[in-house]
Amino acid sequence: MLEAKSLYKRFGELVAVDGVSLTVGKGESLGLLGPNGAGKTTTISMLTGLIAPDRGQVLLDGQEVRSDTDARKQKLGLVPQELALYEELSAQENLRFFGALYGLNGATLSRAIDAALELVKLADRRKDPVKDFSGGMKRRINLAAALLHNPQLIILDEPTVGVDPQSRNAIFENIEALKANGCAILYTTHYMEEAERLCDRIVIVDQGKVIADDTLRGLYARLPTQNRLRIELLAPADAALQARLRALSSVRSVTLLSSALLSVELEAVEALSTVVVGLNDHGATITHLETERPTLEAVFLALTGKRLRDP
């Protein structure tokens, strides 16, 4: 339903967005992942018509949004990165205002406000001024304000910045509920775990360019095969045990993570049984064994040679 074609935007000498193309299908949830300054917010601004691209096109249901008042903008709901709310007004008054911007009024608007407040679980605080809310509650009202006109695509620009884990989880649940209702989601973040949890497909951007656009599984497949075992033993792993494992031809390396915890890298996953047999022969008892899981952080590192977030 949303398609960006070769978007390009320059601010002075800085090329903020350099040929970004992406699509969001109906009901799909797309993550736009990248470090701070990668061009995510500028891309979002062009997708929502806040700024015009220097080059490229944004199509909504196959057609360009032609003016500020284009009715196609009704299909989009924007959740800005900032807490874009009137703090002096109550939650209800804020929602009444933002709903009216999309032409809602009367009973329709009241029902939309009720539904949005129910979704973000703030119906009982509807008459309280937003300035009295916690940061997490403000974030939830910030989300609710974009839902009133029942948009088909919700664009969320880092909606969990500065939010405590409990509120973050509440926001995730809200977004998952929207997904379940068939709403398409475009979610920008630099938190990998958020993209992993919420998104069907992920576009990774860095320095204004798309460096990957794939499903989570597809992105993981781009990593070199990770045949790494994490083995926890009942007793400490002595030097003889480590030497015995290293001596196995199918083992590339053995790392002692703690006294009874080992990380073992294999040539191939088929070598797993060889390691287990070797440990048994040495008299060691395995209490826990797992293969190490690939992460988006590892994907980003593999693609760009740098970390997604500053350590």
Partner: protein
């Protein structure tokens, strides 16, 4: 589109009225300042009296008579005092002028009246910050002293003695030629006869003496019926103009703050035209400006008798036109800086200069001629002239048309500049 437009206007008003303390200050501060300035510049009618001290070192009937006459003058508020006390009071600004009548005044003044000689010296002690009052007091003093001294010369005992003494001196005078002596002798003899006649036929000196050969009648001129000037009318208009411009700064600042807070991203993401967004601001700003103007003038009317003596419709036209000017001026201010903080300093300075040049503090007729012409480029001048015309000057609707048209022109100019210059993105 209309739903969104009215929602934006309603939201602006809600945000403004939510902070009740700020609303109260917005009304009370200009009201207090207008009340003070109105009281200082003449109050609600009548003229203020000049505070004058009389130091009578002569203690003669003539000096007492002068004191009585000065005390009876409606322009003066008289107190008797010693010279030391008078000097101290004038120095401390408690009195504007002190008149010292020296010892021997009654004896020397009638003589000096006819033949010159040694003139007694009246000392005027004055507060240099009240030079205008000195001039007025001097004029009033001349009038009363001339009248009393001439009356004494023509009809008082002191005058008779002075004339007789002068006749004696004339015979001794060798410097004067014979013809002149004869002429002066005839004059003095005539005055002595007149004096003798009036003092023997009446119990007290005849009224009169030399007086000003005319009287004056001071009439304040207004359109229509005559009424008292109300200094509060000008001060309430002035403070309304000043504080509506301060409201403009608030309006512009709020816009910049909303952009900083990302609220404009939501507005721009909605299917709204930029024109509708700015027009809604203009309407809400103008409504608030009218609300404040109405409260200020209504308060002035209730407490100080500020009245719309001219055309009510003309007053409304000027109030609406200036409300629109201040609203679009607020939009224009929002284009002058990136942040609210950066805008405030320059905008406050600009507003104070515009207020001053518009005659909101001091009436424009006090300005030098070149400045009176130059200030026609300030919208505040037109607003002040218009409000003055419709309130205390009591002029008709036709006198409101030019200020209204000019103010609407300024409103349009600021609005167009705002549309052209406004930065829609952060």
């Amino acid at each position: 589109m209309l739903t969104a437009f009215f929602a934006m206007v309603r939201k602006d008003l809600l945000v403004y009225f939510t902070d009740r303390r700020a609303v109260l200050i917005t009304i009370l501060v200009p009201f207090a300042m207008a009340s003070f300035m109105g009281a200082v510049t003449g109050g609600s009618g009548g003229r203020s009296k000049i505070s004058v001290l009389v130091v009578d070192q002569d203690g003669s009937p003539l000096s007492q008579k002068i004191g009585q006459d000065l005390g009876a003058d409606e322009n003066l508020e008289l107190q008797r005092s010693s010279e030391a006390e008078a000097t101290e009071l004038v120095k401390r600004g408690k009195a504007s002028v002190a008149v010292v009548i020296p010892s021997g005044f009654a004896k020397r003044a009638p003589k000096a009246f006819f033949a010159g000689g040694e003139k007694p010296e009246l000392t005027l002690l004055y507060d240099p910050s009240d030079a205008a009052e000195l001039a007025m007091a001097r004029g009033i003093l001349i009038q009363h002293v001339m009248q009393s001294v001439s009356q004494e010369a023509f009809s008082g005992q002191g005058g008779l003695a002075a004339v007789q003494e002068m006749l004696g001196d004339l015979d001794q005078n060798t410097a004067m030629n014979g013809d002149t002596k004869d002429t002066l002798r005839r004059l003095l003899t005539t005055v002595m006869d007149l004096n003798t006649t009036t003092t023997t036929t009446t119990d007290k000196p005849a009224a009169g003496g030399l007086t000003l050969p005319y009287t004056t009648r001071e009439v304040a001129v207004f359109a229509g019926e005559s009424r008292n000037y109300n200094g509060y009318s000008h001060s309430f208009a002035g403070m309304t103009v000043q504080f509506l411009l301060f409201l403009s700064i608030e309006l512009g600042g709020t816009m910049l703050l909303e952009r900083q807070r990302g609220l404009w991203r939501r507005l721009r993401a909605a299917p709204l035209s930029r024109g509708a967004v700015l027009a809604s601001r203009t309407v809400s700003g103008a409504f608030l400006a009218l609300f404040i103007s109405t409260l200020l003038f209504a308060g002035g009317r209730l407490l100080f008798g500020v009245a719309i003596n001219g055309s009510f419709l003309g007053f409304v036209l000027i109030a609406v036109a200036f409300a629109l000017t201040s609203a679009t001026f607020g939009l224009f201010l929002a284009t002058m800086a990136k942040t609210q903080q950066a805008m405030r300093g320059g905008a406050t300075f600009a507003v104070l200069v515009m207020t001053m040049l518009g005659g909101a503090w001091l009436p424009a007729f006090l300005f030098p001629p070149w400045m009176q012409t130059a200030t026609l480029f300030a919208p505040t001048r037109w607003a002040m002239d218009g409000f003055d015309a419709m309130t205390w000057r009591g002029l008709g609707l036709e006198q409101a048309l030019a200020p209204t048209a000019v103010l609407l022109g300024f409103a349009a100019l600021f609005g167009v500049l705002a549309v052209l210059r406004f930065r829609w993105t952060e």
